[in-house]
Amino acid sequence: MTAVDESNTSVVARRADALLRVEQVQKYFPITGGGLLKRKVGDVKAVESISFDVVPGETLGVVGESGCGKSTAGRTVMKLLDPTGGKIEFEGRDITHLSRKEMVPLRREMQMIFQDPYSSLNPRHTVGSIISAPFKVQGVKPTRGVQAEVQDLMARVGLNPEHYNRYPNEFSGGQRQRIGIARAIALRPKLIVCDEPVSALDVSIQAQVVNLLEDLQDEFRLAYIFIAHDLSVVRHISDRIAVMYLGRIMELAESERIYKAPLHPYTHALTSAVPLPDPRAERSRERILLHGDLPSPINPPSGCVFRTRCPKAQDRCAQEIPVLRELAPGHYGACHFPEERHLI
């Protein structure tokens, strides 16, 4: 699968003010055989084809089960990984093939918040030096000095500025995630990729961190790509949601539409698994259970990748890859047999 033929162009409609635009981005990881020569024997197709865009101030939620390629997608979009194919545009500029050096000035505009609050902070650096790192790396000199700026940032994310000289191990998971957030917003970026920023935290802390992210978004007009596997968190924060399965986007629509009127059978299954607060509704609701495991991304199924677990799969699904197309205004889906269902 080198070039994508014309009939298979899953591209979402271009929005004029898009901050980031991703077109059919692929990321393959080569599998090499043993021995000295390291012969390539195959590829892990972590991201097969994803297309989406993000406008300033918007939150795009990306959901999917473990191994569906959502973290790889986030890292590829950030150019922490080099895309195998496709095109990434940032503020209208093609950044797909920029080298690591050429990316450096752009790094001010796009930052990342990581999943693991333990491994994402260097244990040997103080909080002060962690949060001031973006200033040093980018050579930005705030008028009031780096330290004052960093202490402001600490206060802004709910940390005590007096803890400037402390080490990360003296903080709890939630506080560490705040340190990571302060570092990400230090240079006032336009886009932040949040890779499961709350999934390692206690539920009570999750809400605080999500609220902090929302406040910061309003204050600085940040755009987020919010990667998560927890649908209720994503629903809370996202304007639009992309549902991923085995390296492809299955459905992309406004958050409420994904919940209230999903079109793709995979989304049906996902939303039917979201717990409802009302016990009576919870007991009487229809559940769609998926059988089997996620197929191997080394050898994905032919046609629609979801067909092996899809309750509605037909012959056509094995032969023809469904294109991500606009099924309703602003509502994209990749399915031959879309059907609107109301499960929540």
Partner: protein, 330 residues
């Protein structure tokens, strides 16, 4: 938890009413912790004293009125050359006794010997650590062909039979050093020992460092540095290197006594320093022959060596703890 709150109290009291806190660098923080560690300060003091004694050996021996090379046949018995008097001939003229056979002053030889031994061990350790850490970091971070090439180089060096090479090349290389750099014989021999010990010693540390880097480079804080736009040098030396101090210091403090002993062993085998140059190794080697009749001759350099090695080990441990954010707060 209580440690953290203690610190909070301290932080608020030192910063008084203003929230102004001086940003402290890692070195400053480590130094503050080190200063409160009694063992660390004692061993640091011992190390400093040992190093200054070595540096000032000529001055001290002149003050005491002894020198390392003059023979004194009045201090040893005519038959067998054993030191006269108790404890290997301890007297006002010879504070630590004399060498059996020659009657040379042990105090002076010990002091002069520490110059050579420390010079060789410290420089060889420094070069080994520098080489091992740089190659290990580069190999671990680069992966790919560079890693493979460096890995093979390490394999080759590790496969050399070190002692045989040392014995075989000793005279040739020492002479080559003498003629190419116009050095004296002693300098050439010292240089030879330093170079050989460090050139064959670094792959062990490089292996350890490479392994650590392989795991560190996958941590998210490295990715975070990349996502900020940090260049490779910053990632290697600011992000990864500080996490390597523990294994590096442990290895270095183990290496130093190993090198002192290696110099001793090589001198014993005759490829290191040659008499009459005093060194700890030569003294220990000589003393073995006299152990049955003159045990003091073994104990004096032995005890000094023990103190030196212990002081360096304790200091290394303390520095490692001071650099480790998790090792309690001071």
């Amino acid at each position: 938890m209580s440690l953290a709150s203690d610190h909070a109290v301290e932080a608020t009291s030192t910063s008084a009413e203003s929230a102004e806190i001086a940003g402290r660098s890692l070195t400053q923080i480590a130094w503050r912790r080190l200063r409160r560690d009694k063992v660390a300060m004692t061993s640091l003091l011992v190390v400093l004293v040992i190093v200054s004694i070595a540096a000032l050996a000529p001055v001290i021996t002149r003050l005491v009125g002894v020198d390392p090379s003059s023979f004194n046949d009045k201090a040893v018995s005519d038959a067998g050359g054993l030191p006269l008097g108790r404890l290997g001939g301890v007297s006002l003229a010879h504070p630590l006794g004399v060498e059996p056979g020659t009657g040379r002053d042990l105090f002076a030889r010990l002091l002069y010997g520490s110059r050579i031994s420390l010079l060789i061990a410290l420089s060889a350790t420094l070069i080994t650590v520098t080489l091992g850490v740089s190659v290990g970091i580069v190999a671990g971070y680069s992966r790919g062909w560079l890693d493979s090439a460096l890995g093979r180089l390490m394999d080759v060096i590790l496969a050399f039979p070190l002692i045989l090479i040392l014995l075989a090349l000793s005279n040739v290389l020492t002479q080559r050093l003498e003629t190419t750099f116009h050095l004296g014989e002693l300098v050439a021999r010292v240089l030879y020992l330093i170079l050989v010990l460090s050139l064959f010693g670094w792959p062990y540390l490089a292996r350890i460092v490479r392994g650590q880097v392989l795991s560190l480079r996958e941590r998210e804080f490295v990715e975070s540095a990349v996502s900020m736009g940090a260049g490779t040098p910053r990632i290697l030396f600011r992000e990864i290197l500080p996490n390597l101090w523990a294994p590096i210091l442990v290895y270095a403090t183990l290496l130093l006594p190993t090198y002192i002993a290696a110099e001793a062993a090589l001198s014993y085998l005759g490829v290191g320093l040659v008499p009459p140059t005093p060194s700890w190794g030569a003294m220990l080697a000589d003393s073995v022959r006299y152990f049955a009749v003159d045990p003091a001759f073994l104990f004096i350099p032995g005890t000094y060596l023990f103190v030196v090695v212990l002081a360096f080990n304790l200091l290394g441990d303390a520095v490692r703890d001071a650099l480790d954010p998790r090792a309690g707060r001071a």
